[in-house]
């Protein structure tokens, strides 16, 4: 069973953080199909957050097809996240390392690299939505 944690200073809504953590756990193999997600009561009591927040996260996961609620028993994982097989990760990682090398040779320091990446990533995501 996974354990949730919250970062109140991250600016990300708590229910989104819970969803991200479930998805991350699925990607890393910490959660597998058929596993039970922690009970709403336990999450609410453990983190001292409103149970509706937990319910909202679980409902969203259900909507995405990743989990299903069984009334009276709990919420269970029903889907997997195909974040791409590990095979697809390797070439991407290599490309990324190459780009990082280029950026350093161009004289960018760590913060500039991160800022460049984040702003490009964000505008790309917005374009995806638009």
């Amino acid at each position: 069973m996974i354990e949730f944690h919250l970062d109140y200073r991250s600016g990300v809504a708590p229910y989104m953080q819970l969803i991200h953590q479930v998805r991350q756990a699925l990607r890393l193999g910490l959660l597998r199909k058929g596993d039970q997600l922690p009970k709403v009561k336990d999450v609410a009591a453990g983190l001292a957050i409103n149970p509706n927040t937990v319910l909202k996260a679980y409902r969203e996961l259900e909507y995405e097809g990743l989990a299903a609620a069984r009334p009276g028993i709990g919420t269970f994982v029903t889907g997997t996240l195909d974040g791409g097989s590990l095979a697809a990760h390797q070439p991407l990682r290599r490309e990324l390392l190459r780009w990082l090398g280029k950026a350093r040779r161009a004289g960018l320091d760590d913060e500039s690299i991160e800022a460049l990446f984040v702003s490009t990533f964000r505008s790309a995501s917005e374009e995806d939505i638009a």
């Binding site: 609410a44 009591a45 001292a48 937990v54």
Partner: protein, 300 residues
């Protein structure tokens, strides 16, 4: 769904000063409601009116559809925790449970005993010897033992240390998850309210400034930042709650009840609950300052 608390033009005046003015609320059931405001804003007055400890000067209030403290049946449906969790110092923890059993026909003795066990409270210990956090837990047990539909908590964690505060809120959230109980809790600590509340009421200067589900409030408010504008700017379709200007930049916290089309020079970002509450409090303070100044001007 009946509102758990319905107030219409509610006002309370003591010693010539209005502690609460023109309060109209309809709090739906099934939420954890946060009542936030500075000390002196009227939170305790509102909660005392809701529990029947005070009678209104103007307006009406109904709790669970009935007059507060109308009779034993109404009292049984509402659990209350007063500020500083008073308990009988000379009575033991077990005695307090007996008190609950004798004074509440709907008392669930098994539930109360389980809570005391889980909380590791020794039933033989005198209540006067408990720590602040333990007293708050005991008082909460007394409020929950009668299985109320509504729980009213007046600054339950204000005087607790951070660990006790966290434990209390954890316990409260666990209970809300298990039992179907609506909660109204007041606090001046916005960080606590952020975690646990899904409905918010902001009281400032004895008036309700804003009330509604947290999700809706957050999606209706935006933080606009951009190049310096005229201080009286009002972007289309928005109500400016607070504004701050430097020589280069203007930042506005606005409320927009629908989708908004704005000048692209504005950067729109989400508002955090704490910022929203502070903006409304500042707005209230600004208005009362302006009133005071106007009175002064009229006198000169």
């Amino acid at each position: 769904m009946t509102a758990v608390i319905a107030a219409e033009g509610l006002g309370k005046r003591y010693r010539g000063k209005w502690a609460l003015t023109d309060c109209t609320l309809s709090i739906p059931a099934g939420h954890v409601v946060g009542l936030v405001g500075l000390n002196g804003a009227g939170k305790t007055t509102l909660l005392n009116l809701a529990t029947g400890m005070l009678a209104p000067t103007t307006g009406t209030i109904e709790v669970l559809g009935e007059r507060p403290a109308a009779g034993p049946a109404q009292l049984a449906r509402v659990g209350y925790l007063s500020q500083d969790a008073p308990v009988y110092a000379g009575l033991s923890v077990g005695d307090h449970l007996e008190l609950g059993a004798h004074l509440n026909p709907g008392w669930d003795a098994a539930l109360a005993r389980d809570r005391i066990d889980q909380l590791d409270l020794d039933p033989r210990r005198k209540a006067g010897k408990l720590s602040g956090g333990q007293r708050a837990q005991l008082a909460l047990t007394l409020a929950l033992g009668k299985r109320p539909e509504l729980l009213i908590l007046d600054e339950p964690v204000a005087s607790l240390d951070p660990l006790a505060r966290r434990e209390f809120l954890q316990d409260l959230m666990g209970t809300v998850a298990e039992q179907e109980v609506s909660v109204v809790l007041s606090s001046h600590l916005i960080s606590d309210l952020e975690r646990v509340c899904d409905y918010l009421i902001v009281l400032a200067d004895s008036r309700v400034r804003i009330a509604g589900p947290v999700d809706e409030l957050l999606s209706a408010h935006h933080l606009l930042s951009g190049p310096r504008r005229d201080p009286d700017t009002r972007p289309a379709g928005c109500q400016v709650i607070s504004a701050s200007h430097t020589d280069r930049q203007s930042t506005l916290l606005v409320r927009a009840d629908g989708p908004v089309v704005l000048d692209p020079a504005w950067t729109v970002s989400e508002v955090r609950l704490e910022d929203l509450v502070l903006a409304y409090m500042k707005q209230a303070a600004g208005r009362s300052d302006r009133n005071r100044n106007r009175h002064l001007e009229a006198l000169t």
